[in-house]
Symmetry: C3
Subunit: 207 residues, 3 copies
């Protein structure tokens, strides 16, 4: 059982890594960074959230550093994106949004699962899932000297948070790990895309 | 004795948390973030310094994550500030300065105490106290893409540093923990307010 | 043998610390920060890379905090630079570039060595060496609300990365620690200076 849960975390993590590395490379190329900058931002977007999660859990060295598959995948994805930039950029903006929503969903669920595996309480595990999903993008924006998108974007971290809450609730109700993880991931993905499509957002203070 | 010192750290930490969460929420509302952004910044201002301290000490997961009271307090304070924003903003600027000085004093002292409890040498403990007091604000400013206030503000980190040095010195001279902690906190608070009132600042290089 | 390797890490680390602290203090003075801001930036530039490395390796508290020599050296170097600013600023820009290349080389090699000592795999050790060499500068630029120099500078992190790869390769071929470390350091230093002199840079995506 524990083994299967760990495999689930690993798979969601690896796919999310590729997705976010491509996204990071694209952002870096738009900011006119050189090849190294592109690789670094790809690495940071893909690994940032997980590294922050692992540091907070106290699971050091973080998977991103202990397991060679993570950096290898990241650099490969970043490099291929760099080489085929014209093809990648010819994709419609929707592809980009879908890719990002998928990465967010995968990492949010992987983050919650890993935190629970390490005996973190459910509420905090949900927070750590949100950090895993959004952390890489935050570090990217900080490095590019921008206010992180997640702080003002329509239902972004919120989708990750609600998905995490769903995973935790389903597990509480005795739903098997795999099913609750997949439900959470799908919920996050769909909610994010609906929010983008309909322009949903949270209330703002009127000062 | 050790128990009492731990209780002291906890109380200073919890009160400082509420104070800084309110301040963080206000800053986020002024930057026109949405409800989630307000909650995130409230959390970061309140928890940032302590999380950095705990990561550096190696005490993971950080209290902010292990102890549900910290995130619960932070989110409650952030949410209430968001709801009653007009009331909170009607407060005179002085109230804001006093609140911030109180948070700085509480966190600086709590940081020094916790570092000493973990067997960190006094000089480094004073540095960690300063990090605890100012770290949350630094992360907030970084996320809002500003140069951190602490780097150019009048006697801010300096007040935290001197207060920490006072705590350490008093303990060396055999003064009981509680009294040295309170003395340090009051010194930091008063020094910061005096610095704001009289416009004291440190020398600047003339280039 | 292990002892000698540790001494090598320590020496490279301490010299790199002084070099980077001076550089950090100069940057802070140019950004018109006050004495405290100068000390903080000196500390961060000198310690940032090593602290990030130690957190990632899981070696907490980081050397920068456990070993009083690091903060003491940093603050002394920062303070002296502040006092003798006019003399330091009269140095030709080349001196600044040479100093920085030396710090980069020392920290990159120290970082690789320390990671290897902690049983990190060679490829990741090279990455950690690059982080050690460039991390302080990244944190400095983030705090000053700039896009980190390393992301677009000519062959900067690249020099650190290649030097780390050289160290790892030489060790693999049975070259003694000391010689492989010195070779790596010299290679990084020379490569960085050649890159500045001839304006070498990595390819950029054309979008």
């Amino acid at each position: 059982m524990r083994l299967r849960a760990e495999k689930l975390v690993l798979m969601a993590d690896l796919i999310g890594t590729v997705v976010f590395a491509i996204e990071g490379a694209l952002t870096a190329m738009r900011a006119h960074l050189d090849l190294l900058g592109v690789m670094v931002i790809a690495f940071i977007v893909a690994m940032g959230g997980g590294v922050i999660r692992d540091l907070l859990i106290g699971d050091t060295p973080p998977s991103a550093i202990r397991d060679w598959r993570y950096p290898a995948l990241t650099f490969a994805a970043g490099f291929i994106t760099f080489i085929f930039s014209s093809a990648v950029l010819a994709l419609p903006p929707l592809a980009y949004t879908v890719l990002d929503a998928a990465g967010l969903a995968l990492f949010a669920v992987a983050g919650v699962q890993k935190a629970l595996l390490h005996g973190i309480r459910p509420f905090i595990a949900v927070l750590l899932g949100t950090v895993t999903g959004t952390g890489g993008g935050v570090v990217r924006d900080v490095l590019l000297a921008r206010v992180p998108l997640v702080l003002y974007a329509d239902i972004y971290a919120t989708a990750a948070f609600l998905a995490g809450a769903l995973v935790v609730s389903l597990r509480r109700c005795g739903v098997p790990d795999t099913i609750s993880a997949i439900s959470g991931g799908v919920a996050c993905f769909v909610l994010r895309l609906l929010a983008v499509h309909y322009g949903w957002h949270l209330p703002r203070a009127t000062l």
